[in-house]
Symmetry: C3
Subunit: 354 residues, 3 copies
Amino acid sequence: MNRLLSIVTATLVAVSIVVQVGRFGDMPQFFAAAIAIIPLAALMGKATETIAAHAGARLGGLLSATFGNAVELIIGIFSLHEGLTSLVKASITGSVVGNLLFVLGLSFFVGGIRHPIQEFNVRVARSNASMLMLGVGVAFVVPTVFARTAHPVSSVLSFGVAGVSLIVYLLGLYFSLFTHRDVFAYIGHEQEEAQGSQPRLWPAILTLAVTTVLVSVESDWLVGTVRSIATQLGWSELFIGVVVVAIIGNAAEHASAVWMAWKNRMDLSVEIAVGSTLQVAMFIAPVLFFVGVCIGVPFNFMFTWPELVSMIAAVLLVVVLMLDGESNWLEGAMAVGAYLVLAAGFYSLPAAAA
Amino acid sequence: MNRLLSIVTATLVAVSIVVQVGRFGDMPQFFAAAIAIIPLAALMGKATETIAAHAGARLGGLLSATFGNAVELIIGIFSLHEGLTSLVKASITGSVVGNLLFVLGLSFFVGGIRHPIQEFNVRVARSNASMLMLGVGVAFVVPTVFARTAHPVSSVLSFGVAGVSLIVYLLGLYFSLFTHRDVFAYIGHEQEEAQGSQPRLWPAILTLAVTTVLVSVESDWLVGTVRSIATQLGWSELFIGVVVVAIIGNAAEHASAVWMAWKNRMDLSVEIAVGSTLQVAMFIAPVLFFVGVCIGVPFNFMFTWPELVSMIAAVLLVVVLMLDGESNWLEGAMAVGAYLVLAAGFYSLPAAAA
Amino acid sequence: MNRLLSIVTATLVAVSIVVQVGRFGDMPQFFAAAIAIIPLAALMGKATETIAAHAGARLGGLLSATFGNAVELIIGIFSLHEGLTSLVKASITGSVVGNLLFVLGLSFFVGGIRHPIQEFNVRVARSNASMLMLGVGVAFVVPTVFARTAHPVSSVLSFGVAGVSLIVYLLGLYFSLFTHRDVFAYIGHEQEEAQGSQPRLWPAILTLAVTTVLVSVESDWLVGTVRSIATQLGWSELFIGVVVVAIIGNAAEHASAVWMAWKNRMDLSVEIAVGSTLQVAMFIAPVLFFVGVCIGVPFNFMFTWPELVSMIAAVLLVVVLMLDGESNWLEGAMAVGAYLVLAAGFYSLPAAAA
């Protein structure tokens, strides 16, 4: 499995390098880089998990929770460096909306086809729901709304949002890994990791290092061609950020969340989908803000109305879906349906309005 | 009972015809048509129920769930045909707000006077709550908000919204009538329909046919005088659509939902009020969109801010009221109070702003 | 305890009088008055409680629920009298946001440090959640949103909002003190008031009378210097109202809510924080509207967008936090974090935009 994945990855990276060096044009370069990132992200994820497993439950949980979405972080840094701040915000929006509605929805739907009603830890669900309300419903709403009154977002507010989100996110990790670990236990599978021998540590670290470098290179190529692609296809930058880049950055999570749902391990599915969302909103977004401060690119938390409203609608729908600690296929269909409506909305935005 | 209703209906229809033929003026014509529609709707509802009972539980459930609000559909088609698209949207708003706040609120209140705490199936309530979040909180919000950025609502988005709403609504019927029928069982009344002999099928079909024709005729008259009424009374078209037309179209449901609550059958009350809302938002609205496409009237899902915000406020309040599967008279008073605030809001809009 | 408090109060009032009479300048006058109000409010609260205890459970509950926030009411009346309607609305916003996020959050946090999971009556929590949705999510949203379409808020709408809020608030008292008293019982402490002898009635009435007069005088001084302070410090009137005045008016409640949480009596904590919010939104705001009508100052329920959005975000976050009837320190951290984001937002507004 791992070997096959490595071969596929190497091939796709090679293709992408050839396309890039041979200057085949922006369109092939964009798609070759996009496709190569998907298996690279999967490899990075596996390597992170292996290292986390060796690090023990708590440090490991911390590792996954901070480096689990490294691909988004890398793409974000390259986009910032290019000055594409609206692309960064669009891909944050896409991660939030895509993870909450598409990944979670598909998991509920696919799992629900096999199991009439699936359960997950209701306390974790409620804690996640509250976190979403803070990390999106307050932290993204306040700068966007207040900035309509006081035109530029003040640095006090930006630092406030970034600081509060980051601190509460870290407190949340401390809560779930230390003070309230028992409350956050999974439902109904005792020792989930005990299947077969664990992969060794050093190859994982090597893999992580190599894939990180390759993801960085591919991200640079991907981001460098976004504007030209937007013009050629008549898509808005918002659509590319919200739908295309978000799917690329999250493809690996998509697959494993759905797979876990199929195996009736909904706790893991929900953790992947919602945990990923919280990580992007409350860890990656603040880190990108501080990176922006350091490299002198003014990045704030002011979103466009379509972005903000999409995220809030996604959060509120998912909060109502999750609060009971149960799922079924119809709930999955609702979430996927909501995702399709939002995707149609972003597709329909004029390219100029990006 | 049925005979008395028939006589009342015939009388009111006759009056309305006289008023219409004699050209008594717009005001009498409007109110005569409006009053005649109320008992016609009740007769249509009874006939549909009888046919549904003969069709068996599943096909019958499907029938009620698709033709239960035929009056709104007919009024909507005539309004579209007159080009009154803003009236159609106003009466959709009125159905959503009126059913959720006024009908459900009055049911909670009246039932709660007799029974301190009333219960209903909490899983059905949660499923309905999620559906409301999708059918109103996403499907109506996205076109309205996105269209402020990209001025006309694109046809991709309109087709997306109509298609998704309709498909998820039908999936919801499949879910509640087939795959998860046991989950959706009612609380505490075993065989509710076994009281007395069932009315015969053919008279019901005949009644349905005749009332449908009559409702169509009266709707035509009603809709034809709306603009003139709005001018004469100084009411906005929004107020007429949201309050007046919505009350006319839903009067019969109002009565039976409250009656069921009084008899402590809250499951039925909630089903009538919330089911009706979902039917209007996720079945009638999309069907009217497709009708508009066919007859060449551009109908989209872009609401005015007062309409959109009213629907969202109503949905969020009712979601919080319903999620616990319990009701009491104070919850009813809250919902009715919210309805009165909204009605005062629509009443206060200037006639020109419609 | 009471004696110490009286001495502190007398000293601070004396200082404030000296500063005022000696015309030490607006800045000292503002802060001297602000600081003197805090212990006065505490004394008023204790006196009200004593009188309430003598009045018996029901009449006493009614007393606390209507005069518990007398300080806000007095400051509000003086602000109205000065024509500072935007300051009144800002301090209503501050009470809602401060009580829900800061007071409740700090209570959850401090209590949660000592007790891993704290419980409170879930039915009360749900009833409060619904009331918040009505009193803020409908009653404040509708005038603000509708007035953007129909420029001035019509008097029909204002009277509707004030009337409905006040009536439903009183119905809520009737519900919790009479018809559903058993449902609203506290968790796990049988006879909470039976500790020691009750203070006597007449001194309490005297205290209430004297402190009311003193609070009125200090409020007059406080309000009279607000505009000059805003100019000198470069703060917006919104920031002063939302953060400074709201903290002054609620300091006493803050302390006792947190203290109750520390003693694991979360029912009382939640009642103080959420009950205070409801009282301000559904009792004090309508009363101020009617006072405005009487004294000819046009006061309506149209808030600025930052105010409205802050209140809605606070309500939705707290509804999600409360609905499960449980709290922990992380939930407290989330609420306090949300408060800091909002405070940073109001701080960042330009002084001119007030």
